[in-house]
Symmetry: C2
Subunit: 205 residues, 2 copies
């Protein structure tokens, strides 16, 4: 592209480094910044600077947090013995939005993926195993994504916990609420038959 301004070019270059944003979109966003009051853009940049300068990760669960411990780990009403293992912060938010879980989380920071060069030692697995060893956890719920990488990660952690006194469970996989059977893929449908539950149980939900 042919920029008439070095300042504009630099701004577009930086914005286009963000994921899913190409040069054209970056230019559109940057020109939008020039069309709105300067103070709004300075608020945006300040919010981003504050974030990267001051953000913490919870010492206990590795969730994003303003303080040493996150709001969830700090909440005395929540059950710290039941821990839900998730890949990243967005999964914590997704589960929190359901309002169905009152335990703690443990954020792995990704999943084992040899293709992307991510091994167990790149993830927050050791702190999790230590919590189990110190008998801080009675039930571990695996809530990673339903992919080969997610399953591998679960299995790796499960092996690390062998011989330790902890219940391990995994969130139910099955057809989504509102889905029609006809359009459900075979693997999901097959698993949902194998893992069927008593009808009385489903009524309680």
């Amino acid at each position: 592209m042919n920029f008439s301004s070095k300042l504009l070019e630099k701004a577009v270059d930086e914005v286009s480094l963000l994921p899913g944003i190409g040069k054209r979109t970056a230019l559109r966003l940057v020109l939008h910044l020039l069309n709105r009051p300067k103070s709004q853009t300075l608020q945006l940049t300040k919010a981003l600077e504050d974030l990267v300068e001051n953000i913490n990760f919870c010492k206990n669960c590795h969730n994003i947090s303003d303080g040493e411990l996150c709001e969830i780990c700090n909440n005395p009403k929540r059950n710290s013995k039941i821990v839900c293992v998730v890949e990243d912060v967005r999964d914590v938010m997704a589960i929190e939005n359901t309002a169905q879980f009152q335990g703690h989380y443990h954020v792995l920071g990704g999943k084992i993926s040899p293709m992307e060069g991510i091994g167990p030692h790149n993830l927050n697995i050791e702190t999790l195993v230590n919590k189990v060893k110190n008998k801080q956890i009675s039930e571990l719920i695996f809530a990673t994504s339903s992919t080969i990488e997610g399953d591998t990660t679960n299995f790796y952690i499960f092996k690390q916990l062998e011989g330790l006194d902890v219940i391990t469970t995994t969130i139910a996989r099955g057809i989504s609420v509102g889905d029609e059977l006809e359009y459900t893929d075979e693997v999901t449908l097959g698993r949902s038959i194998i893992n069927r539950i008593p009808f009385e149980t489903s009524l309680k939900r």
Copy 2:
């Protein structure tokens, strides 16, 4: 959404004010910022701050510029008598990318659009008419978008120039290079027949 951090929430709120970016995309972008080195994000925010603090608009053509005059107006090799009238900065870039135009530009800053509350006085039309009155321009090329608003804007300027000594032209509208006739809309195809040019002329391009 259920944020565990006020800093994160504030950053997501600010980013989601950008056009075409919702809360989910904003969250994805902001979490990406947390996953890369802090210095990269500070480079991004610095580039944006520099831009809004220091950007100028060319005194002559209203194009974005680092100095008082933009690179195009400053270039002695370009013909200042031929002026291409465009809606915004992106149009200047688009025409510059063709490398087919060696004159100057005049950036209107939009088009007349009563629906959006944009009238002639919100656009850089007066400075353009003054340039013509001062005999600084011999040819004015209208290169606004091919919409009712674009045509209205052209017509408004054309009326303002009545009685003044200037040639007004408009860029050719017709079927795109590479287009098949069968799939071209009727209005475009109809106009391209009415505005046909000598075959010999087309050979020179």
